[in-house]
Symmetry: C2
Subunit: 301 residues, 2 copies
DNA sequence: GTCTAATAATTGTCCAGGACATATATGGGT
DNA sequence: ACCCATATATGTCCTGGACAATTATTAGAC
């Protein structure tokens, strides 16, 4: 019986649940109950890891662990998102067109997806493409992901291909010294980059000079980078997956470390229900981001 | 005295040292010694965090923690890499040209760097550009990084701008159904993407169909993706920063999970001193990657 | 002297069980 | 229906111990 077992570190990696949480759940709820290795180390069987992934997904969708642990497996699979839904933008494009794009991803049709998106980009222009195609598509992928309708690798493929399209489109815009200078990055535990790229596209379209620093920048380096690049604005993106309660605690010291004259803007799905932080501008939508930029340009003229 | 303090989770994020390690070092070596908050929680002052970052960097360069803890701060700053150096490729291009590119990054000259790289790409063609410019440049950045000659945000800027250049160049290549189908990704704890992009460029140049899945793919999803995309080859990249001892333990189950007829290729600086794993092809250089591909195409014809 | 193998030191990861802060739910009053 | 106070649920941190894995050192063989 060469039964495969995962140690607690591997489970932490695969599920995103910390070692502390895994041990605590075992203590409190009696699940998971891993085997024990020679030395009392936990060894998780694959089916428990699978179930933990499912539970994690449902928790991200708003369910509470206590209930989930007590729910039989068969029922778990049927649960729907419980979080207060994101208010749907009114003038959303026909969902049918998005479905077609999603279908291409789920069929793993790389060339077909790229071609369909290129066509939309050409037809809509970059601004409408970002607002009416990429943004709602990303939301849909996020929702489907929460419902378990996407495999990990399908979500990765979507992200990778969409990233490439956006980067390519942004690269085609005129460059050169312009105003304001906007430094774009994300917090240390935030690896998601699509929101950042959408913001970059919108800012670049309005004539800002964007300095893309990728994701996961330590806080101290964000302020150093702002100085080094003489940035006017630092823009951070938080995805819905980011632990929201940590955001204010993270923004306050950052705001304090930045020179007063450097603006700090934050956006992304993760900030929707986060309290305001003094000196930090929350941008709930891409439209808001654009108008904030126009305002900046008007004031500083 | 509103002295800033970091909790242990923040220090883990910022330094990459696990909570367990931070507590263990405190117990064993007497450093770091954080203050304690109201409830006995550790609160690390900024200078200790700074020192921990330095120590981490020196450890990645081959130093042992026991010595480092006992070394006075002034001396720490002077330590050089201790690891056995990477054997220099013989026909390396004039270092002077690379220095010029590095200088542009260190001056935070976004436009200048992009322009210089674009010129080199146009002059050398994609294949030579990757082999003679991007690859040695990445190595140089890695070395300078270990020496502490780069800020975090400078390294991020380099990575981001270089990624964009490569992606753009790859996108310009002809596409369509070709052979073999190569799935490109990296292991769960490996976020570095440049090596993967260089490999993609080389493979695409020789007529392979590349399916880029981004980085950090859970193992079970790698094999699922290989099936879904009917891949002929799965290519993984490991950077030098990846804990090398974990690599064989990671490759063996992956190899077992993949269908026999799907090849598994690994490359990147991280595999240089890793033992061979049966059924896994190690590609130590980009040239080797190209010839492996040509061989595959010859055999399968 | 140089190589190899055995031994010792070093270092990271895991464990148990307890304490506490904070987030979320629940009930009562208006 | 709304708001506040209390209770419950949940995650993070703590201490101190054990052990496995890696790396260095020593002893012996050639």
């Amino acid at each position: 019986m060469g039964a495969i077992r995962f140690n607690i570190a591997a489970v932490e990696r695969d599920t995103g649940l910390s070692k502390d949480v895994l041990r605590m759940w075992e203590r409190r709820y009696g699940f998971p109950v891993p085997d024990r290795g020679a030395n009392g180390e936990r060894g998780y069987p694959p089916d428990q890891v699978e179930r933990l992934r499912l539970i994690k997904r449902l928790m991200d969708a708003g369910h509470r662990p206590g209930k989930l642990m007590a729910t039989p497996l068969a029922e778990l699979a049927t649960l729907a998102p419980r979080r207060k839904g994101i208010p749907e933008p009114a003038g959303r494009p026909a969902a049918g067109e998005l479905d077609e794009l999603l279908r291409l991803i789920k069929q793993h049709d790389v060339a077909g997806y790229q071609q369909a998106m290129q066509q939309r980009l050409a037809r809509q222009g970059l601004q409408r493409f970002v607002q009416d195609t990429v943004a709602p598509l990303t939301s849909r992928v996020g929702e489907d992901w929460e419902r378990g309708a996407f495999e990990v690798f399908e979500e990765h493929l979507f992200t990778e291909l969409t990233k490439r399209l956006l980067r390519q489109a942004v690269a085609a815009l005129p460059t050169g010294p312009r105003a304001p200078r906007i430094l774009l990055t994300s917090a240390p535990d935030e690896p998601h980059v699509l929101g950042l790229l959408m913001a970059e596209a919108m800012f670049a379209l309005e004539g800002a000079e964007c300095i893309p620093l990728g994701t996961q920048m330590p806080l101290r380096d964000i302020s150093r980078a702002a100085l080094a690049h003489r940035a006017d604005i630092v823009a951070l993106s938080f995805s819905t997956a980011f632990p929201q309660r940590q955001i204010p605690a993270l923004l306050r010291p950052l705001r304090a470390a930045l020179p007063e004259e450097v603006a700090l803007w934050v956006g992304g799905g993760g900030i929707r229900w986060v309290a305001d932080v003094p000196g930090v501008k929350r941008l709930l939508t891409l439209e808001e981001a654009t108008s904030a930029l126009l305002e900046w340009q008007a004031v500083s003229r």
